[in-house]
């Protein structure tokens, strides 16, 4: 009898615990992806705009926390790595700092969460990070599943590294070549389809990890090695004789590296896009981290609008200060400054700007007018 009572009481306790656990998430009700109700956002002097639930939640969260949570890397040279003192630096890292400077006025108000390839998607889906700036290639599936991809800030693509005197310049020149490649990656798939499309043959020498690929290439065990252009440029510096190797000038895949934000908050999505555009636009207008104050009194109305001294570039709706974009540019510089910091002549490795040049200079970087 006592035993039965005991079991019954245990079951009651267990069910209470379960009920409590089940109730908790529902009562807080902050899942960023549900679009069921609408909230009304009043914009002074304008008509009332209805916005889906979720609108503005991330900005409110970031401001309350006083810190931007940014998903990144600590182990990718040039994009996201550590300096000697353990500070996060790199191209992707600077994009996070630009957003933090725009929203909070402080480029150091960032908490970097190191993410692996496996958990970057879930980190965005769950809203654990406010911004994912981790060398992520934008593709339609990820866009559908993970969140919203903002503005492509780095056009990368798979290419080849070959000996400077090998006489290889096109895909055709590589017919029958041995190619060093990491196994089981999209890199290997791209290689196979590129050669199959061109009706060429090759002999693959595969390795589990990237470092082995490059040491094998360095030792001359294969004619060419293949990976993303940015990675090959970094690797070239570490080869025994960097000058004896060159990158080919074409790509066989689209790796459009794009910062992404969680789904369900259009305000945050727009805000991050605008910050990215402002970095590109600043380079077009010649606004640098050094001359922002000076440019505020520029003759050009578009420059004054961008820097927030005239008109409204959308900041009222986006919930930030008029000087938000000016702060971002002051903190990290314009796109060209960021690029050159890591991939220019004084950067960690040199990579020709190619497609990552402004549209007006023949590259692919464009931004709508900020006004």
């Amino acid at each position: 009898m006592r035993k039965t009572l005991w079991i019954v009481s245990m079951l009651i306790v267990a069910s209470l615990v379960l009920a409590a656990c089940g109730g908790a998430p529902a009562s807080t009700g902050v899942e960023p992806v549900t679009v069921v109700e609408t909230v009304i956002v009043e914009v002074p002097g304008e008509t009332i705009i209805t916005q889906p639930q979720g609108y503005g939640t991330i900005l409110a969260r970031v401001k309350e926390r006083g810190k931007l949570v940014c998903g990144g890397r600590t182990d990718l040279l040039g994009f996201g790595y550590l300096d000697d003192n353990g500070n996060n630096v790199g191209f992707d890292t600077d994009l996070c700092r630009a957003v933090a400077a725009a929203v909070l006025g402080d480029p150091t108000a960032v908490e970097f969460v190191p993410l692996t390839a496996a958990d970057r998607g879930p980190a965005l889906q769950t809203g654990e990070v406010d911004l994912l700036s981790r060398n992520v290639t934008w593709n339609s599936k990820r866009d559908a599943e993970w969140g919203n991809f903002t503005v492509t800030m780095f056009y990368d693509g798979q290419t080849f590294i070959v000996g400077s005197d090998s006489g290889i310049n096109t895909l055709k020149d590589m017919d029958g070549a041995t190619v060093c490649v990491t196994t089981g990656t999209t890199t290997e798939k791209n290689l196979a389809s590129a050669f199959a499309d061109a009706g060429l043959t090759y002999e693959a020498v595969t390795f589990e990890d990237t470092a082995s690929v490059y040491s094998a290439y360095d030792e001359g065990r294969c004619d060419v090695a293949t990976s993303d252009a940015s990675q090959l440029a970094a690797i070239r510096v570490g080869l025994q004789d960097p000058a004896a190797h060159k990158l080919l000038g074409f790509t066989i895949s689209k790796e459009y590296l794009t910062p992404a934000v969680p789904a369900g908050d259009d305000q945050w999505f727009d805000l991050v896009k605008t910050v990215m555009w402002s970095l590109i636009t600043a380079e077009e207008f010649g606004i640098t981290s050094a001359n922002v104050e000076e440019m505020k009194s520029s003759q050009n109305g578009d420059v004054r609008a961008l820097l927030g001294v005239e008109g409204d570039w959308g900041y009222t709706q986006l919930g930030v200060d008029a000087s938000a974009l000016a702060n971002a540019i002051t903190a990290v510089g314009n796109y060209g400054e960021i690029y050159n910091r890591y991939f220019g002549a004084d950067g960690v490795f040199v990579l020709d700007r190619g497609p990552n040049n402004l549209g007006i200079n023949g590259g692919w970087l464009v931004a709508p007018a900020i006004k």
């Binding site: 908790a24 790595y81 000697d84 003192n85 970097f112 190191p114 496996a118 879930p122 889906q125 769950t126």
Partner: protein, 402 residues
Amino acid sequence: MIVKPNTQSPPDPPGPVAWLIKNLFSNWFNSLLTLISLSIIYFAAASVLSWVFTTADWRPVVGAPLLYLIGQYPRDQMWRPGLSLWLIMFLIGMSWGVWEKYVKAFAIFLAILLGIFAIVPLETATITLGVRAAFLINPVLIYLGYLIGKNKIVNGQHVITLWIFVSSLIVLVLLPGFEGIPFLPKVETTVWGGLLVTLLLAVGGIVLSFPIGVLLALGRRSSLPVVKIFSILFIEVIRGVPLITILFMFSIILALFLPAESRIDRVLRALIGMTVFSAAYMAENVRGGLQSIPPGQIEAARAIGLNNFQTMVLIVLPQALRAVIPSIVGQFISLFKDTTLVVIVGINDLLGIGKSILGSDPEFVRLQAEMYIFIALIFWVFSYFMSQASLKLEKTLGVGVR
């Protein structure tokens, strides 16, 4: 009359030449084997040594010692891990004084290592004179702790209490800090890294999984069906799943079910995962010990009027745990090494920091062998001292001897 003793002293031990002839060159075949083995050893040693001292480029190892130790912990808050190290070294010194034989080798080794680290010239600007001075205090603290620990007034219970108090203080107060306190600002665990996180996960996992494991083992043998079924389910489910899956489960899937606000700290998630995993194995180890206790022990305990709880705590568990010390220590060592798996959930432990250091300079990409060897060495040292301490503990407790 004095009788001259008839006994002869035993023959002198053979000289080195005689020993060589007897053991290595007794016939032509053994001589040949000896020569071949010697040449293999010679060439292996020569190539390893020449690699270590000439070919190998140790820049990724010596260039960023602070990164290996504390990861990205803010450099303006370095006094906090520094003070933690002092406290721990003092306690290790005290433990050396109290449990002389188990801790002595480790304490002396640490004292020498930290002393060397303080004075060895490294080509890096991150190790300032202040850092060196702070490190130089560690051996002094170990010795001071030893002198105090040797004192008869101090016993093991005092030291254990101090360990619990000090380590909770370090992990809960000193290192994380608090929001809004100026002299102890909050430091998110996302910037903790290196050896700090590795030790935190290992020691945290070991300390937390032990009591849970014992409870699960008792639960599995319990006569209460709910407790029994829960324990069996827990143990069998966790043991049937690889650690890597559990880490993924806790760091990714769990987050999908929780609201965005209730962000559980990543290091904590990994710690929970490791604890849960280790507890299930611990439970099976302890159960083995429990089964080895003859029923007569329990009957005898009942006969002298002990209740269930007393029987368990005073009679059964001490014997059961004693019997399974080797497997428990083995479990701890493997947990310690398994902490490297947290790299895959984005925590910069010792291995993760090593990988990050390789990514900080294009010339380091070729130097991964050096980094991995260095990290393997660190793990070996800790594991070695753990297994040595366990061997001595077994001898003292007479495990396997009746």
